[in-house]
């Protein structure tokens, strides 16, 4: 059994102060991933600094931009009317994350800070152009989520910084959206996942935003596939072409859950299906 100290500060200032004194300490939010890693001895922190009593890190604020406190639980995202109305992909992805027991405790900030390519909330936030606010001893800074994700388990934040807020600009008006996730059973981590936002003008695709998870070192947008789709007249041939281009922008690996080829194929099928469904194309 690993032994560690445990601290429960109540303000961000106290959190940052503790981290200065205990540089080897690890931050813990919901702990649903961290506690497993400690049990399996993947991590052996001398101390944990819990963020759970820091009330200023919670809450969802309405405004021109929606600000989601990093400590907001996945279950809160599932239920919040503002999220369901303005950012439906985020609500849908949250409902597909883990079990109810996990969703009750796991936080949005934790899901992002683990920086797993299969984080369920990552692809919706990428298509909504989310930014994250990082707070450290030298003040706070805002970076795009795409900049925040550096590699598997690796973010652009320094060890002294915490993620405090997720900031969402207004979603595109009249957008049609679809989230898809492939797992063997419902509780699984994603084998592959897709978030699609389309703005249509009749048969014309005015704007397209596509993001994919579990098929590259980080969850990512697909600028090339988006550019093939944007400004074009929608057809089943075009969706197939977009999906084919998308497979050139990803770099899946094979692991215990699926082979690289299977992941590539799922992405192609899911993107084609998403675009066809949102555009009302019958196959």
């Amino acid at each position: 059994m690993t032994h560690y100290d445990y601290h429960r500060p109540e303000t961000v200032e106290e959190v940052l102060g503790l981290k200065r004194v205990l540089p080897a300490a690890t931050f813990i939010a919901g702990g649903t991933d961290l506690m497993v890693r400690i049990k399996n001895r993947v991590l052996n922190p001398p101390a944990l600094i819990s963020l759970r009593a820091v009330t200023e890190l919670g809450g969802i604020e309405d405004g021109e931009h929606t600000r989601i406190g990093a400590l907001t639980t996945i279950d809160e995202l599932c239920r919040h009317p503002l999220i369901a109305e303005r950012y439906p992909l985020l609500a849908q992805a949250a409902r597909r994350l883990g079990s109810r027991q996990i969703r009750n405790v796991a936080t949005l900030g934790g899901n992002l800070c683990n920086c797993s390519p299969c984080a369920d909330t990552a692809t919706p936030l990428l298509v909504y152009d989310a930014q994250v606010q990082l707070q450290g001893p030298d003040g706070s800074r805002q970076v795009t989520l795409a900049e925040f994700f550096v590699g598997p388990g690796q973010t652009c934040s320094s060890p002294e910084e915490i993620l405090s807020q997720i900031i969402l600009p207004p979603p595109p008006a009249d957008a049609r959206t679809l989230f898809m996730k492939k797992g063997r059973v419902k509780m699984d981590l994603a084998i592959a996942s897709t978030s699609v936002v389309l703005v249509l003008d009749g048969e014309l695709c005015q704007e397209a935003r596509l993001a994919v998870g579990s098929v590259a070192p980080v969850a990512l947008r697909l600028p090339l596939a988006e550019s093939v789709l944007a400004g074009q007249k929608l057809s089943s041939e075009l969706s197939a072409e977009v999906a084919r281009v998308a497979t050139t922008e990803i770099a899946p690996i094979g692991d215990i859950r699926a082979s690289a080829d299977y992941r590539r194929q799922i992405i192609e099928v899911y993107l084609r299906r998403s675009i066809d469904q949102l555009a009302g194309i019958v196959q």
């Binding site: 100290d5 702990g31 649903t32 497993v36 819990s50 759970r52 079990s99 027991q101 009750n104």
Partner: protein
């Protein structure tokens, strides 16, 4: 390093002291002798350790004990009636064959309790969704779903 904790356990206030690196499941089983909460996978997959914290189902194997301070905790030991009778939900599991070896039952029943508290009349799909994080290796899930529907019907007819 130890920490003093004050919380409500199965309706009664409790003050205790625990090593800070213990999990809620360790506190319940090893310090407070409440062994109804089971340890299965210890990774949040099986749900055998499910308890309610402030009414919400959580995996007590992933819940650091210090976080329970000031909270309300309900374990399987807290569900029965005061005269040692089983609650209606527990009795329904017995009547419908929702229990076989019994190892998953405390977690199943607490997940079901959380569900019925927020949705007294759940559909079969809603029950299966709520139990997604609880694994049973004996009965299969049909009898467990039946048990919860039976409990819901009995509880609703009491009102």
């Amino acid at each position: 390093m130890k920490i003093d904790l004050s919380f409500t356990l199965n309706g009664s206030p409790i003050n205790t002291s625990v090593a800070v690196d213990r999990r809620l499941v360790d506190l319940l089983r090893d310090e407070l002798d409440l062994t109804g909460t089971k340890i299965g996978c210890e990774e949040g997959e099986c749900g055998a350790c499910t308890v309610l914290v402030d009414g919400q189902a959580v995996n007590s194997c992933l819940f650091p004990a210090p976080e329970v301070d000031g909270k309300h905790v309900i374990t399987i030991e807290g569900l029965g009636e005061s005269d040692n009778r089983l609650s209606e939900l527990q009795q329904a599991f017995v009547d419908q064959g929702g229990i076989q070896c019994g190892f998953c039952s405390p977690g199943m029943i607490l997940s079901a309790r959380a569900l019925l508290n927020e949705n007294p009349n759940p559909s079969q799909d809603e029950i299966r969704e709520a139990l997604g994080g609880n694994l049973c290796r004996c009965t299969g899930y049909v009898q467990i779903v039946d048990s919860i529907q039976t409990a819901a019907a009995r509880e609703n007819s009491d009102d």
